[in-house]
């Protein structure tokens, strides 16, 4: 079996936002209203000479026990055997319960207006139905043997993508070593995005 996961090293993320741009172009997200599938948060931590800037990329955590999937009333949110959580936009009625359930703020709205604007913005838009949207781990690229767009473009190699069920995969080894940890594991969501903590700039 394959079980996809991502490891993000907060020590090497320089906050260039290339991942956001690559993702937006790949997945045609409504960036004009500040909605992104992946977003890099910036935060200044500390005071005076000690102040540091921390960059924190976030995205859908493709949880093994995803609360967004459980609350979805139409079955629009579903999970593949490889762990990737996807949305069928034609089936999504846009009740937004998934956005409320997600502890990682990974969901955003795509409205009828966004589809109209998107056609002008991107030239040709793949999407036809409004829905709640989120990161798909670039499943269409992964299926072709490619890496997700954000991983491919990351200049500092802060993002790594791999298979947790393959012991020789560097991602599986990082997770197994305990260096990379998931966010808020106490919520029981069993996330598949892991973070290597920012040791120098930690608050």
């Amino acid at each position: 079996m394959t079980r996809y996961a991502m490891v993000i090293d907060l020590n090497t993320c320089v906050g260039c936002n290339a991942c956001m741009a690559a993702c937006a172009m790949e997945n045609q997200t409504p960036v004009w209203k500040g909605a992104w599938r992946t977003y890099v948060h910036e935060k200044e931590i500390g005071v005076a000479e000690q102040v540091r800037r921390r960059f924190f990329p976030r995205l859908c955590n493709h949880c093994d026990n995803p609360p967004c999937l459980t609350v979805c009333p139409t079955g629009a949110t579903y999970q593949r055997a490889d762990g990737i959580v996807l949305i069928d936009p034609d089936r999504c009625m846009g009740c937004r319960a998934c956005a409320m359930a997600c502890p990682y703020d990974a969901r955003y709205e795509v409205t009828y207006n966004d589809i109209r604007v998107g056609k002008e913005f991107y030239g040709e838009l793949q999407r036809t139905s409004p829905s709640m949207d989120k990161c798909s781990f670039c499943a269409h690229r992964v299926d072709k043997g490619q890496k997700p767009a954000c991983v491919e473009t990351c200049v500092g190699s802060a993002r790594q993508f791999g298979d947790l069920d393959n012991p020789s995969d560097p991602v599986a080894q990082l997770v197994a070593s305990g260096v990379a940890q998931p966010l808020m594991p106490h919520l029981g969501t069993r996330p598949n995005v892991y973070y290597i903590d920012d040791m120098k700039r930690k608050g």
Binding site: H41, K43, I45, V71, P73, M93, C95, M100, A101, C102
Partner: protein
């Protein structure tokens, strides 16, 4: 601490509060009127007022949610009764079916009474429908199996009231919502507001002196439910004070807000409790105090849901 971000949400706001309020109120109204009609005494007027206004309230609730959907056509997937097989883990799927079947069984329960009521037989289109052979047959069946229809409606009504709390409980990131007290609180509140609403009807529109026993019974029940709600809210206060930062911040938002303290706890619970307590123990000469208490309970019912939605705090590690 400064590596975390704490924030409230702006996704489900006043319109979900309205959805939960009208849904709970409508469902509990139908349930109470049918149980009264089945086990207290047959009451045509109460059933007609309760059933029809209950269905209207459920309709308003559903319309508020439907109006805010992003993709209206996809609602067909959740209206399909087979959704129980496809998505048995989704409370919205259960809730939609509860509301839908509550309306169907509610109308069927009221049908024989509608046919007996001259007002309905005077409205041209309604009279025409009520005289259809199929409707005649349905009415006869419902009359024969009155308690079965009444219980089917009541089970769906109770299900709807509980669902309004279970829906909010299913969001794990927010301590204020993700706890077993929420379905309990929302169910108690739904039935309390329904008793208040029926007291309004029984004091303004159905002013028969013979209904005094029902009025007293409803007032007593509302009093007990308000007291229960106060106990649950006190336990929420204790629960949110420690245990998680999300819960503590929700406590600060709620208990530091005059709208919650004075508007909901004060005028929405304590004042009607005092008025109803005097009504139950010593009685009032006029109807105004009971009507005023009922209006305050209804206002409090909405405020509870409104503040609950706005006070949920997410804790993000960025």
């Amino acid at each position: 601490m400064n590596t975390m971000t704490y924030t409230t949400q702006h996704i489900w706001t006043w319109w979900i509060a309205l959805y939960l309020f009208f849904g709970g109120l409508g469902a509990a109204t139908l349930t109470i009127t049918f149980l009264t009609d089945m086990y207290c005494r047959p009451h045509r007027k109460l059933v007609l007022w309760g059933a029809l206004s209950g269905v209207v309230l459920l309709g308003i609730s559903s319309a508020v949610l439907f109006g805010h959907l992003l993709h209206h056509a996809a609602v067909i997937y959740v209206l399909n009764p087979l959704v129980f097989i496809l998505k048995p883990d989704s409370w919205i799927a259960w809730g939609t079916q509860f509301i839908l079947w509550m309306m169907v069984w509610g109308m069927l329960y009221a049908l024989p009474y509608m046919r007996e009521t001259p007002l309905f037989m005077r409205i041209p289109v309604v009279r025409g429908i009520l005289q259809w052979p199929l409707v005649n047959w349905l009415s006869a069946c419902c009359m024969k199996r009155r308690r079965i229809v009444g219980w089917l409606a009541s089970i769906n009504g109770i299900g709807t009231a509980v669902y309004t709390g279970l829906l909010i409980q299913s969001f794990p990131a927010v301590a204020l919502w993700h706890n077993p007290g929420v379905p309990l609180l929302f169910t108690v509140s739904a039935f309390s507001t329904a008793f208040a609403y029926l007291l309004l009807l029984l004091n303004i529109f159905i002013t028969d002196e013979n209904d005094q026993d029902i009025r007293h019974r409803y007032e007593r029940m509302d009093l007990i439910l308000i007291a229960t709600e106060l106990v649950i809210l006190f336990s929420f206060f204790n629960y949110t004070l420690s245990g998680s930062e999300s819960g503590y911040r929700s406590a600060q938002l709620l208990w530091g807000d005059w709208g919650w303290l004075i508007g909901f706890i004060g005028f929405g619970l304590l004042v009607p409790f005092m008025i109803e307590l005097k009504g139950v123990t010593r009685g009032w000469r006029g109807r105004f105090p009971t009507v005023a208490a009922a209006v305050l309970v209804l206002m409090g019912g909405y405020l509870l849901r409104h503040y609950f939605m706005y006070a949920g705090v997410y804790a993000y590690p960025w």
